[in-house]
Symmetry: C2
Subunit: 338 residues, 2 copies
Amino acid sequence: MAGVRLQDVADHAGVSMKTVSNVVRHHPNVSPQMRARVQSAIDELGYRPNALGRRLATGRTGLLALAFADIRLPYFAELANLVAATASTSDARYRVLLEETGGTLDGERAVLNASESGLVDGMLFQPAIMTTSEIDERHGDIPIVLLGEGAAPPSVDRVMIDNEAAAMMATGHLVDLGRSRVAFLGHETTQLTATSQQRIEGYRRGLEHAGLSADPALLIATVETGAVSARAAVGAAIDAGLHFDGLVCRDDLAAIGALRALHERGVAVPHDVAVVGWDDTSFAATTYPSLTSIAPDTATLASMALEMLEERIAGFDGAGRHRLAPFQLTVRESAPFR
Amino acid sequence: MAGVRLQDVADHAGVSMKTVSNVVRHHPNVSPQMRARVQSAIDELGYRPNALGRRLATGRTGLLALAFADIRLPYFAELANLVAATASTSDARYRVLLEETGGTLDGERAVLNASESGLVDGMLFQPAIMTTSEIDERHGDIPIVLLGEGAAPPSVDRVMIDNEAAAMMATGHLVDLGRSRVAFLGHETTQLTATSQQRIEGYRRGLEHAGLSADPALLIATVETGAVSARAAVGAAIDAGLHFDGLVCRDDLAAIGALRALHERGVAVPHDVAVVGWDDTSFAATTYPSLTSIAPDTATLASMALEMLEERIAGFDGAGRHRLAPFQLTVRESAPFR
DNA sequence: GTGAAAGCGCTAACAC
DNA sequence: GTGTTAGCGCTTTCAC
């Protein structure tokens, strides 16, 4: 039965609302017999506490917004799964409201604007293109923690992995395999996102560190995110005569597209070209060949982010804390150990 | 500034709360000059309407729960994306609360139990293992629409595609290619879900329809959902001497695993074995070879479901309506046209 | 067109 | 240990 209110239960049991409330919330200060009496009234009436009333009174909703570009990208799906699982087992038992920005500036703005306040207690946001200053201006007073290597003003908390170091590791792994013409795949054709910048920088430093020079011709941009675009880009590069024997990909999706393009042209992986992906998403293990990939420790990343967010929600008001989550290189067939 | 209330704006502008409320909600009955005056008070104070207060008063939250097994499964990620996009553009501008059941009975129960009421206006739920009667008992009085081919009591709305017909189409496509030993991959090893039952039944009927008999040995079960398990199962089947020249997969993930296992054993796809996946998820186009796959019209499915749900939320109280969304077979390299 | 007051369902001081 | 009461911030009759 809907429409049963706390007051109804109180009347039915012949007690006050306060007592019913205590029973519902498992408050200790209730005598067992009273608890039993109230409980049976609850059961008889089929009472369900109304979340809204409770939340209005406490000021907390138990809801967290999780905002990023697109849930269809496997990395984000895995992140969402982890965040939801972690948040629901925290003391506060948060639930997750999904917000997709579409990877557009308007989408990111809409997420931060959310003209209504009070619906969510806090927000985890992975910006892709918004600038530091715009985030700073718009984030209002809702507790927020930023995810990933996008812009992050000093006032706001953020968790990411060290993208430069990871890209250096990926590049170094290929160099160790004896590859000397290592290409980078998957950055934007025009305006580079912070993610691409950092990964390319790490790739450059990885080459330099090995005494190799970075040939700008080896930067293969893609028109959009995803395997389809990567396949086209790699195909076009090969057809145009580009020669390379190693490939660092901006993400696993790009690597999948690359694998496909290489197959089609009879280029053997890893024999002719060794490939490293990024994110170590679940399907990296079952591509053919399976993908060597940078594996961010997303579980740690999620729990670090949630921890900081809960502190903010609890009222912590210090300067933004920028934390690094660990990562490793998962080695599989596409770029095996030497 | 947080903590600015409607009353504060009213005081500041020297009007009543009612007027401010009217302005905030763009109610027509406000004179332009009054509107301007109130608006400037709003801007000066940085007032943001509090969602909770509003929602308590109206009884609507603008939130929809979307519940299914696991967001990491590409089909569900694509569904979530579609539902969120469709719901946010409907008149009611719903936002989506993600609920994962983990594909377990406990998880499905937890989703339906949600001891608190009122947090979401309605729910879209894709059950995998709950029975019809249990769903009927537990769904309480929250408006709900079921997704997929799982159990669905007559009292509850549901949208799915015709799984038997789709499986027949997939099987028929392989038969048309001249395949006579068509296997089925990806059902559970023990208790079959409704999904597997229907797809296997369609597969059987597809074979019968072509005058072929269904050999039980050709049913290849997997220990769990996903490519890894499918790869192992197909590998084991081949190693055990199973011979087949066509393969209908329960989902694309199973197909990916199968592709991998076949590759490893030097079985050529589609030459030796033609493969059909299911869901036509985005990566089906870039596997090697690319996947022929059953493509449910998820956009239509999502909008049908949302439409029925909005009717329920609006108060419609008729019997459960069971609707079918369209599907087609997307033909690619793994099982091309003859 | 605008104002006053009564809720929406619950929690939390504070009193008993 | 239990009851009373005043909000939480907004919407919404109903007067004016």
